[in-house]
């Protein structure tokens, strides 16, 4: 009886934890393989423990260049997409205007279009326009597919916003600019940060669209893809593990700081 009751109270959590374990299984493998000395180039099995990969993460030729390039692209694309998307979100939530439905559709469609389609059609545009493929075409493509996600994220935060706070600010002698600066922006900021984080992870992780529009530019996912044909250097797992840890610390750090501040 007691067991039955405990089970009925906790089975959802149990299933949830199992699903999380499923999410983490390959990551455990990645972490494990980052300490592996593979027996051969094409072997993905755990062979022998070593710290070499961690002490020499940039061992394999261009890998670290690719990582740096991915971070640069991610950073530029994130800033641009966050600015563009936030402006759009403000327009959509705060204003009534003609063409609202069309705008919503324009924002929704990129999320409803498979990446191969977006990547290939953008490639056709660049080819037709004679635009040389490379770093900047990748940035353009990333901004394009990140904007919609930024709009949706910021919109969610904005539509939960209590507009009486802005009225209170205006009542207390803050003009439109200061109301935005002192009340609106600080309160919407967590939503903007979340959107930026999402944009960065989407950009950093993108392979399909990048593959179409990168020319000879190699991002980290492109490097991994190329290496997958020849045999993956174990340092790839070091990068994977490191990125995972950085993300974990970053997100936990901001949430702890926010809790402190709150």
């Amino acid at each position: 009886m007691k067991l039955g009751r405990w089970l009925s109270d906790h089975w959802v959590m149990g299933v949830g934890v199992l699903v999380l374990a499923y999410l983490f299984l390959p990551i455990a493998v990645v972490v494990g393989l980052s300490f592996n000395e593979p027996s051969s180039r094409l072997s993905y099995d755990f062979n022998k423990f070593t710290l070499d990969n961690w002490t020499n993460p940039c061992g394999p030729g261009d890998m670290c260049d690719a990582v740096v390039r991915s971070v640069q692209i991610g950073f530029i694309a994130t800033v641009a997409a966050t600015v563009l998307g936030t402006l759009m979100a403000f327009a959509l939530v705060r204003h009534r205007f003609r063409g609202r439905a069309a705008t919503n559709l324009l924002i929704f469609l990129p999320m409803a279009t498979p990446e191969v389609v977006m990547g290939s059609s953008l490639l056709a545009l660049f080819v037709a326009g004679g635009v040389p493929l490379g770093f900047w075409t990748v940035v353009i493509a990333h901004v394009m597919f990140c904007v919609s996600f930024v709009v949706v994220t910021v919109k969610a935060r904005l539509s939960g916003f209590d507009s009486r706070l802005e009225e209170a600010a205006m009542d207390l002698y803050a003009d439109e600019f200061h109301t935005f600066r002192k009340v609106t922006l600080p309160l919407v900021f967590p939503g903007i940060v979340a959107a930026a984080l999402l944009a960065f992870s989407l950009s950093f992780d993108d392979f399909i669209i990048t593959n179409f529009n990168s020319g000879t530019t190699v991002t980290f996912p492109m490097y991994v893809w190329g290496a997958a044909q020849r045999g993956i250097p174990p340092q790839v797992n070091v990068i994977g593990t490191a990125m995972f840890l950085i993300a974990l610390l970053l997100v936990l750090g901001t949430s702890v700081r926010r809790r402190r501040a709150a």
Partner: protein
């Protein structure tokens, strides 16, 4: 008219086809405590918002000290608001919330002013807390301090006590009144609590469906309401349907249900046509038979149909021969014995306690039906 009076002139606000505020005109003298009383949805908040500049009037004007401020942006008006739900800035602590207006106006010496203000609302030492860490009453006082610190010419309070429990509410009412007397500002206080309006305000305006039904001192409105709505919104009234039958000297004669009544002309809002004869329940007294009615009084007969004992008084419902009920409050001072249900009684009143209101043809008696405890 003194320099700082607030005047609303034909103020109207429509949302689409719906008229929320309908042609309101009134003057609020400087330094007064003015209460806007009305049921939920009657347009009180909308009126305040137009004064604060948060809503643009569809037509009409807001004048402050003779200056038209209707088209000024809210931050240009010497008016501050205590919002219905406080609207404290959740990302700022109490100190910064209170200092907000001073900082925006670039006023120096913020620390000492804020501290003085926090002391006034009895929140010393709470400066570092966030609004979320305060109780409802404390939040309300922060909202008050945040507005008061700016020394506005007019302070608008939108049901600031609505969310508080009864005890805290009474306490805050006294405190608000104290602060108002102390700082001497014009307070415009919106509420749907008639007792709150009557105890705090110098002047009360009763609003109904976007219009002001009556405006005056609390006692004046209570003793001599001008419409059936006011008669039953501010306290309760027994309203007997009748017609004016004529005039005899200073008295207006009314016939109702085959009986004759009279009301002094000075207590009549109308002197002909369909009327309500109104008597407050506490002005109705009970007697066992017509012989014991003191002279100079008027009366109706009936049967006690219900009674409820509420401590300080007993409330009786008396069923009249024509089938409607009137209610009478009898003080439990120990003078009268309790009257049992089913007893035949006579309910009597002094004619100069009655009042006469206009009635739409066909409308029947309008006594507030059941024995509700007065809030």
């Amino acid at each position: 008219m003194s320099k700082g009076d607030l005047r609303l002139v034909n103020l109207t606000k429509r949302f689409g086809v719906f008229t929320a505020v309908d042609d309101i005109s009134l003057t609020i003298p400087q330094g007064g405590f003015f209460a806007l009383l009305g049921a939920s949805g009657c347009g009180k908040t909308t009126t305040l918002r137009m004064v604060a500049g948060l809503e643009e009037p569809t037509s009409g004007k807001v004048l402050l000290g003779g200056k038209d401020i209707s088209r000024l942006r809210p931050y240009k008006r010497p008016v501050n608001t205590v919002f219905q739900s406080y609207a404290l800035f959740p990302h700022l602590d109490v100190f910064e919330n209170v200092a907000f207006g001073l900082r925006r106006r670039g006023i120096g010496d913020i620390r000492s002013q804020v501290e003085r203000m926090l002391a006034l609302v009895q929140l010393e030492g709470f400066g570092k807390r966030r609004p979320a860490q305060l109780s409802g009453g404390q939040q309300q006082r922060v909202a008050l301090a945040r507005a008061l610190i700016n020394h506005p010419q007019v302070l608008l309070l939108d049901e600031p006590l609505g969310a508080l429990d009864l005890k805290l509410r009474r306490q805050m009412q006294i405190e608000l009144k104290r602060i108002q007397t102390e700082v001497g500002l014009t307070f415009v206080h919106v509420t749907h609590d008639q007792e709150e309006a009557m105890t705090m305000a110098d002047t009360v305006a009763v609003m109904n469906a976007g219009r002001i039904e009556q405006l005056g001192a609390p006692a004046e409105i209570y003793e001599f309401p001008s419409t059936p709505f006011v008669a039953n919104f501010l306290g309760q009234s027994n309203l007997l349907a009748g017609e004016v039958a004529g005039r005899s000297g200073d008295e207006v004669l009314i016939s109702a249900y085959g009986s004759r009544f009279s009301v002094p002309a000075g207590r009549c809002r109308v002197v002909d046509g369909n009327v309500y004869l109104g008597v407050r329940p506490e002005k109705l007294h009970l007697a066992p038979n017509t012989d014991s009615v003191p002279s100079g009084h008027q009366w109706v007969t009936g049967v006690i149909s219900d009674s409820s004992y509420v401590g300080v008084s007993t409330q009786y419902l008396v069923r009249t021969p024509w089938g409607t009920e009137v209610s009478a409050f009898s003080s439990n001072a120990g003078v009268h014995a309790q009257v049992p249900r089913g007893a035949h009684v006579v309910a009597y009143w002094r004619p100069d306690h009655a009042f006469l209101l206009s009635r739409q043809a066909g409308a029947g008696d309008a006594t507030q039906p059941l024995l509700e405890t007065v809030p």
